[in-house]
């Protein structure tokens, strides 16, 4: 393609594309950078609109207070627990199912596919699911956070398509060598599927990390709340916990208010950073993931 010179109009078009994309890039990234800057800046300067992009009057007061807060700490630990074990259960349930469904000779395969696909379009709905969780005695338990979305058909389809694209000869050879299907899966197939597992871990882990609604629905005790529910209190319902602002004491209301805002910015950074640091490493697999996952198969 490079052998043929672009015309002047084409080059102008390319520059136009670059400019538009750069504007979108700035729009996407600016709020994120602003929050980061504001979280380490003097709250007075933030409140008076002096912070445009770079932080001014550096202070780590917001972070100090966030890390001192017991609710946030408990929420953080809970979220780590839900994310680690939830993702593990997701993988154990979804990936082997994808492997089994990729087997073309499996009797009843179509039936199983229909069985798994149907809930993607028609579901029991919020209330029957809520009542079921209550009837099962899972209400206000940590287990409900791990089990309720244990299986994801969308991710299972991605797995199925991936396993279906692996060369059949590999599995045939291992079966001839005396491996059972499960041994083949564990010892031959999984080591070849690191890209898939990476994407699956990312999808599941991010979902667990970011979810708040199932916790809102099924949990009652604050001690079991994941980080997102605590965040909802601070960011959306505007209830800062008492011990975060305790040492402010008699200071002016304005200072207290500014500190509250500073804490908001800090807490946003603290809660979003783990995921934002993780995803670029797995980015090269995303396109592959959505491509092989297309429902048409």
């Amino acid at each position: 393609m490079t052998a043929i010179r672009d015309t002047a109009a084409d080059r102008r078009f390319q520059i136009f594309c670059c400019i538009i994309v750069t504007i979108l890039l700035l729009l996407a990234v600016y709020p994120l950078l602003y929050v980061c800057s504001a979280s380490v800046s003097d709250p007075k300067l933030v409140a008076s609109g002096k912070i445009i992009l770079l932080p001014k009057g550096i202070t780590l007061e917001g972070y100090r207070r966030v890390f001192q807060d017991n609710n946030i700490l408990t929420g953080y630990l809970n979220t780590i627990f839900y994310t680690c074990f939830g993702t593990l259960i997701n993988l154990l349930v979804t990936v082997p199912a994808g492997y089994a469904l990729a087997r073309t000779t499996l009797p009843g395969k179509k039936l199983f596919m229909t069985f798994f696909m149907l809930p993607m379009y028609f579901s029991g709905g919020l209330i029957p699911t809520f009542l079921l969780v209550n009837q099962l005695g899972l209400y206000n338990t940590r287990a409900v956070m791990l089990l309720i979305y244990a299986f994801s058909m969308y991710n299972c389809i991605i797995c199925r398509t991936f396993f279906g694209s692996l060369p059949k000869e590999l599995e045939e050879a291992s079966i001839i060598d005396g491996c059972s299907p499960i041994q083949t899966f564990m010892k031959i197939v999984l080591p070849l599927s690191k890209a898939l597992l990476g994407v699956m871990v990312l999808y599941f882990a991010v979902a667990h990390w970011n979810t708040y609604f199932s916790a809102l629905l099924y949990l009652k005790d604050q001690s079991k709340f994941p980080l997102q529910l605590i965040l909802r209190k601070i960011l959306v319902l505007e209830e800062s916990s008492a011990d975060m602002l305790s040492s402010v004491g008699e200071e002016a209301a304005a200072a207290k208010f500014q500190l509250k805002e500073l804490i908001k910015y800090s807490v946003i950074v603290v809660s979003s950073l783990p995921v934002l640091v993780l995803y670029p490493f797995l980015q090269k697999y995303f396109a592959q993931g959505v491509m092989i996952g297309s429902v048409k198969g």
Partner: protein, 318 residues
């Protein structure tokens, strides 16, 4: 375990022979069924049991009686819903919000993917990586960021308005701002991520087509229109059918976060109403009925879009 045997040709045997073949095949695949078992159990319990619970939409659910033993009341809850004073507001709010959301968030990722496709090398990768970032932010944080930035006291947007000599605007409590905030924050968050599927589809464009078109003197814009766009059209159609299915419903998670007493007139949608009436006020049967109605309309939309696109473009989901 032995190699799974190929299923012998079916027509050559009688019914008993075929049955034996099937049993043999099932037995040979027993370990595969074992791998399927956890997923089967999870879906059965958490997806199909609730479907069984839908019957309470036609009953008066009593916790002590359970799903099955509660008393049948026919269409009472549906009639109650259509007679309730806010029924049409709810339906209108839901459709306006989802339609607005669809009109903004459906074409933008396609345009973005086409634009990104014109850019080569490391800059493209960098842009893509950065545009994914908002997707990984939780809804709570997103709404937190919006309300902080739009806040009349410290928000940067209002500071800017004041510097330009304008008056402060209480965006979050302004009913007329709710839909715009909901839709455009959604576009901001998902634009890059939704473009992935189109970018992947664009990588399948045959470079020879472009070479031929260049020799024929086609400009870049013409090549995008006549080569790139037709190549990704099946993907666009599939995504269109899927979004058409969700046109009749708006998820409750983000709306609940953006909702407050002042914007309730436009922000109350069917799903948030179901949540409030069902979970907070324990009107289980009534809210199940509304949820069921909403789900059925969604399916109708999906099937309708599927049917239309099958006729028009020969691409379809089923």
């Amino acid at each position: 375990m032995k190699t799974p045997r190929p299923i012998p040709h079916r027509t050559s045997r009688g019914l008993r022979g075929r049955l034996r073949c099937l049993m043999q095949a099932v037995w040979d695949h027993r370990l595969y069924y074992l791998m399927l078992l956890p997923a089967f159990a999870a879906v059965l319990i958490f997806s199909y049991f609730p479907m069984y619970g839908i019957q309470i939409a036609f009953k008066d659910y009593k916790g002590s009686l359970g799903f099955a033993a509660s008393k049948w009341v026919g269409m009472k809850h549906f009639i109650n819903f259509f007679n309730s004073y806010n029924c049409w507001t709810l339906i209108k709010n839901t459709f306006v919000l989802s339609l607005y959301s669809f009109l903004a968030s459906f074409p933008i990722p396609i345009i973005l993917a086409l634009l990104l496709n014109e850019i080569r090398g490391r800059y493209k990768n960098f842009v893509q990586t950065v545009l994914y970032a908002p997707h990984f932010i939780s809804l709570v944080v997103l709404v937190g960021m919006i309300s902080t930035m739009l806040s009349p006291s410290i928000g940067s947007i209002n500071t800017m308005i004041e510097m330009l000599g304008g008056k402060k605007i209480y965006f979050m409590s302004l009913p007329s701002a709710f839909r715009h905030i909901y839709v455009w924050s959604g576009v901001w968050q998902e634009m890059g991520w939704s473009a992935v599927i189109y970018i992947a589809a664009l990588s399948a464009v045959d470079p020879q087509l472009h070479e031929a078109a260049i020799i024929d003197g086609a400009s870049k814009l013409q090549r995008i229109w006549h080569i790139n766009l037709p190549t990704i059209l099946p993907t666009v159609v599939i995504m269109f059918i899927l979004s058409a299915g969700s046109l009749a419903s708006v998820g409750q998670e983000k709306v609940l976060l953006l909702q407050n007493d002042l914007n309730l007139d436009v922000s109350e949608v069917i799903s948030t109403y179901v949540y409030k009436r069902g979970v907070l006020h324990a009107n289980y049967s009534f809210s199940t009925a509304i949820g069921l109605l909403n789900n059925l309309v969604s399916i109708l939309f999906l099937l309708g879009a599927n049917w239309i696109s099958k006729k028009a473009t020969e691409t379809s989901l089923f």
